[in-house]
Symmetry: C2
């Protein structure tokens, strides 16, 4: 007979999900109530306010999609695109490729702007693509590329989109809560994120936000949104403000308790303080890695603090290292994707996982494991270097 | 400053979500691990086996979609349909209408077979529609209509579909775990359910299962599935058996712990015993309601044990009753939908909520509230009638 599942207790420092704070787990296991219960509707209103806080937006259409970040991405494309539309899609990692898939499955055309994996999106190339495609409806790109750890300049890219009369669609799955993101100030038209990265909630929910301009477009489509489940015209009937909430689908009640709690904690800390914390822990991790002699994929100016892509030393089997870390230290770090499979580790410092004890644990474990495997590194230096960075503040 | 959300403790006897067992809430709040962690992958394999048990199927493609039942419905249609296809859709309540929306948003044509709300789907009408539409690709219908409490004859309808060379697509959102459902014996090709009804898990997950015939069709489509997120060709790369699991999207780790636990509990009880328990508690509830003089929408032979649609007595404001039940008894029952708004209550006895103490609580509270509001009922009789039914076993 299959028995209850008792997971091991891990430290999650991969590309997400990240460590979940005990307060969030406790919130999630509170008693379930109905999805039309007045108490739940009050919670929904708070949740929308908290998401506006996190996104730094006043957008009325700001809500959590009841599915993972991939569905949030799809929600943005299927609501904004109609067959025959043209979208400029920037690709500098895995997730730009996923955007292309989404655009094409809407019956729209994707004009690709390619940058090397590990580089940020190049605004000059984007400007050329916008000039060459005056009929483009939208510009889509990833803020924080989870596959490489590169951060692109959202403000500059959105300004270009606006100058050329395009909507901007931004993937903020890994950026929200972990680094500067200002939806209104930067003029983003549609943005989606995930609950399981720098918000440190459980996976399965995708916060989204749409500008007034995007909202008008969604309300005045020529064709129906191809997804009934993700049709914002219907979803808004449940999440919309005031009056009666119309049943659309059953909201994931308890995971929304969890998201609410994680956002309450973000607000208690202050989002700017959270950004600062992510930067500090990144600098300490970087000090330790560099002391060992390891290097980063991404140039310093474009490095995400929450996702650190680190090159594997010559002659080392990266999977063997991750296996030792998992089995001996209960520590998860991520592998490289695509062209970087076998060549990179991805060390996440996201949300609740971005804290001093995790940085020190990870550096100590990685240092010891690499020494154990005979890697050509400057062993025994990493933790001290990180501590020194913390103490120099 | 927004503070933590502390929900009231309710008894959930509406159309879902249903009460969640403390074991399921405890499982959900266990520590998060990665979605590619070997321990998680073992849990996924168990979860697929448990879902096969619950669906009574050997179908290899049996897995939990990472989103609510509405997305499970959409997963069935977008994977099986291509533009220009024709589907016979049976409607005898709200959810047949939702199927029609899904079919049309796939660029396919829905041929509707209408039955009155509260009636089961009429196999004779279906046979005529199948004969009139030899080019139809699929027959789609709802097993357990949550909006009315009517149960349709899945076995007979699937046999008709097969005789006419059609696939069968079955909505089992409210039936799975609550009444007889045999995916293999009845020859169902695609079936979807929800976690929050008779499985008594938290909402947000949709178990689905596809037959070999459906699987072949999905693997040999002319066009790509219009939803990237729900494309089973991709989802199978993560949930498929053996070898490496390819990342598709981040699974909702903790809600899947919860689903695992709810299915472990179902298997401990034995699914036939769970069906029997639902029938017994329904009979006790019915005895109490009928003693008061209340009547059911659905004829006895087609009544679902887990969803009881009860007519509101003349002159009684049904919303006022639900408000008293919620505020004074922390008891949620459901309202009527569509043409039955204001005329019906929907009393759920689903999963963990289907137990004697809930039946007695609900009858006592409803009896007292109707008396309080001066309804023309036979007051004070309901609980005794139910007790008598329980004692007569």
């Amino acid at each position: 007979m299959t028995s209850s599942f008792n997971p091991p207790t891990r430290t999650l420092m991969g590309p997400g999900p990240s460590d979940v704070h005990p307060r969030v787990l406790a919130a999630m296991s509170r008693p379930i109530i109905g999805h039309l219960d007045p108490a739940f509707i009050d919670m929904m209103d708070e949740l929308k306010d908290l998401l506006q806080y996190a996104f730094k937006t006043e957008n009325a259409l700001t809500l959590p999609v009841s599915a993972p970040g991939s569905a949030g991405m799809e929600a943005c494309f299927v609501n904004l695109l109609e067959p025959g539309d043209k979208v400029i899609v920037c690709q500098n990692g895995v997730f730009g490729g996923r955007m292309k898939e989404n655009v094409e499955r809407c019956g729209a055309q994707a004009v690709m702007v390619q940058d090397a994996w590990g580089k940020p999106v190049d605004p000059d190339k984007v400007e050329v693509a916008l000039a060459d495609n005056p009929d483009a409806k939208a510009l889509a790109f990833v803020h924080a590329e989870t596959s490489t750890g590169a951060c692109s300049d959202v403000e500059a890219l959105c300004a270009l989109a606006r100058q050329h009369g395009c909507l901007s669609i931004v993937d903020a799955v890994t950026s929200l809560g972990g680094c500067e993101l200002r939806v209104d100030d930067w003029g983003i038209d549609a943005v989606y994120s995930g609950s399981q990265k720098c918000l440190s909630c459980v996976p399965g929910i995708s916060p989204v936000s749409f500008s007034e301009r995007a909202l008008d477009l969604i309300g005045n489509r020529h064709s129906k949104v191809q997804s009934w489940f993700l049709d914002m015209n219907l979803v808004m009937g449940y999440w919309g403000s005031g009056g009666t909430r119309a049943y659309h689908h059953t909201a994931p009640i308890n995971p929304l308790y969890a998201l609410h709690e994680s956002l309450v904690m973000l607000k208690e800390e202050g989002i700017e303080n959270a950004w600062q914390r992510h930067r500090l822990n990144h600098r300490a991790l970087a000090a330790g890695l560099e002391a060992m002699g390891l290097s980063f994929l991404v140039e310093q100016d474009y490095r995400l603090p929450q996702l650190n892509a680190v090159t594997v030393p010559q002659g080392i089997d990266e999977a063997a290292v991750r296996k030792i870390l998992l089995n001996d230290y209960n520590l998860e770090i991520g592998a490289g994707l695509g062209e970087f499979a076998g060549k990179l580790w991805r060390i996440g410092l996201m949300g609740y996982a971005s804290r001093k004890e995790n940085v020190l644990k990870c550096l100590g474990a990685l240092d010891a494991t690499l020494q154990q495997l005979g890697a050509d590194i400057d062993g025994g230096t990493a933790v001290a270097a990180a501590n020194s960075l913390y103490n120099s503040r």
